[in-house]
């Protein structure tokens, strides 16, 4: 039997961690991630989980200890946001190359400067090219379920890559909603135990991890890493089917909402997709055919499937909650990439919104939809929602 609990998004992630019961958790407090580790530390203190937590003095040390424990053979988790991710970056970038299946929830927060504690995606968008699996979550419920998916993906013997599970700082991270927590036994059976094929504490079978690799081997190792990433899409769907048996839900690469016959569509990640769905409903009721595509699996990016989903839509607007200064915004760039193969492509418009936690309203999204429907778009121009002129 599942249980409905009033949980914040961060608490929902802590619930997933309780059920996963990792061997080791190492994290350093950073707003707005802190409640994840606070809630989880209570489970540790109360003996509800068997996890060992390691107090550290910084995120760089947190990820370093995580790497050490994962290499030793443990199932290990970390958690971070924004400046924390930035501080641990050196080690974060090393994890995929070491092929350690670390799962790390990230509660998206704007990156300094100016210093800001609120939501945008500039923290994890800076980490899209280094080889972590990335899954974005619309709400606490999705964040909880994505954690369960992530641990299975990361530890799959054909993958063995780290995974980040994102949700929006404060907007979902600190907001309490009803979250359905599935039966402990079923989830534990789904998650299983980490069963590494080799680990450093196995002294009977020694091996070397993390050696120097110069021009004669570095490239080959990186090509291996890409091969592992290419396995993710298939295993994501397979694992999602397995999770469906517990949750009754589906786990596609992205959510399509009233997209099939749409005259205009918006692509947007995470919590704003919820606002956009409301807008779609309102506009549909008024006879305007609009739809939404909400990417969930962002690394690896499902180019082919996104292309198929958007190919017949006359005009598509992509809403990014971060900028890629001097380049197309991160989600927009992926959508534009995905559509290149088509002979006849949708018209495109890039919008940037909500930096540093600036609110976006249904009226803003409706305005964007109306602009898209008018056809007054320019695929080479970046437009801004909610920016004072």
């Amino acid at each position: 039997m599942s249980t409905w609990k009033p949980l914040s998004g961060t608490q929902a992630v802590a619930e997933a961690m309780r059920q996963i019961n990792p061997d080791v958790v190492v994290a350093y407090p950073i707003t707005p991630q802190t409640p994840i580790v606070e809630f989880f530390a209570q489970y540790v203190a109360n003996g509800i989980v068997d996890t060992e937590t390691i107090p550290v003095e910084s995120e760089h040390s947190a990820m370093s200890a995580t790497v050490g424990a994962a290499a030793a053979g443990a199932r290990v988790m970390c958690a971070t946001a924004s400046q924390g991710l930035a501080l641990m970056w050196e080690v974060v970038a090393a994890v995929p190359g070491l092929r350690l299946p670390i799962v790390m929830p990230v509660v998206n927060r704007a990156l300094s400067a100016p210093i800001n504690i609120h939501c945008d995606h500039s923290d994890t968008m800076g980490a899209t090219t280094i080889g972590w699996i990335q899954i974005f979550s619309e709400n606490g419920q999705e964040a909880y379920e994505n954690m369960l998916l992530a641990i299975r993906l990361a530890e799959h013997p054909d993958i063995l890559l780290p995974a980040m599970v994102m949700q929006d700082g404060f907007i979902t991270g600190h907001s309490v909603e009803n979250v359905e927590i599935f039966d402990d036994d079923k989830v534990k059976a789904f998650v299983g135990e980490r069963n590494p094929d080799r680990y450093l504490l196995d002294t009977e079978h020694p091996y070397t991890i993390g050696p120097l690799a110069l021009p004669d081997y570095y490239f080959e190792i990186k090509r291996q890493q890409e091969e592992a990433m290419r396995q993710v899409k298939k295993i994501y769907l397979e694992t999602g089917k397995e999770l469906s048996k517990i949750t009754g839900k589906e786990y596609p690469y992205f959510e399509s909402y009233k997209l099939d016959d749409a005259d205009a569509a918006i692509v947007v990640l995470s919590s704003t997709a919820g606002t956009a769905k409301d807008t779609v409903d309102k506009m549909r009721a008024e006879g305007k055919k609009v739809g939404l595509l909400k990417p969930k699996l962002f690394r690896p990016f499902p180019y082919k499937e996104v292309r198929t989903a958007l190919k017949d839509i006359p005009v598509v607007g992509v809403l990014d909650r971060s900028m890629a200064f001097g380049a197309y915004a991160p989600v927009y760039a992926e959508i534009k990439n995905a559509l290149f193969e088509l002979d006849k492509r949708p018209k495109l418009q890039s919008y940037v919104f909500g930096l540093g936690g600036k609110d976006i309203f249904k009226s803003d999204i409706e305005k964007a939809f109306n602009e898209l429907l008018s056809g007054e778009v320019n695929s080479e121009e970046e437009r801004y929602i909610g920016l004072r002129g």
């Binding site: 070491l98 080799r198 091969e227």
Partner: protein, 113 residues
Amino acid sequence: MTEKKGWKDLMRGADLPPASSLEYKTGSWRTSRPVWDPDKCTHCMFCVAYCPDMAISIVKSEEGVKGFNGRIYKGTVRLETDLDFCKGCGICVHECPTHAIEMIREEEATSSK
């Protein structure tokens, strides 16, 4: 380590089988080599401890070996430097309390032989 493996044949994530550095002969990096004079050696083990490449092997010797001042040194004694692994850093020369080791240019060593 003769034929380099392609990406499909390497161990995952740059992991390596154990003790593979034994196959990697770093002696070819050397431009100078240490020459050890057993007659000046007290077998104090300083060179053995300081050698960064473990290139000086040791053995137990019951009967002992002749060394400094013509004495017989028994117990743990050092052997010749293993030139397959000695990179020629000269640390052993610097540390030796009895000046039993000297560095010579590699070309001197090879031409005199």
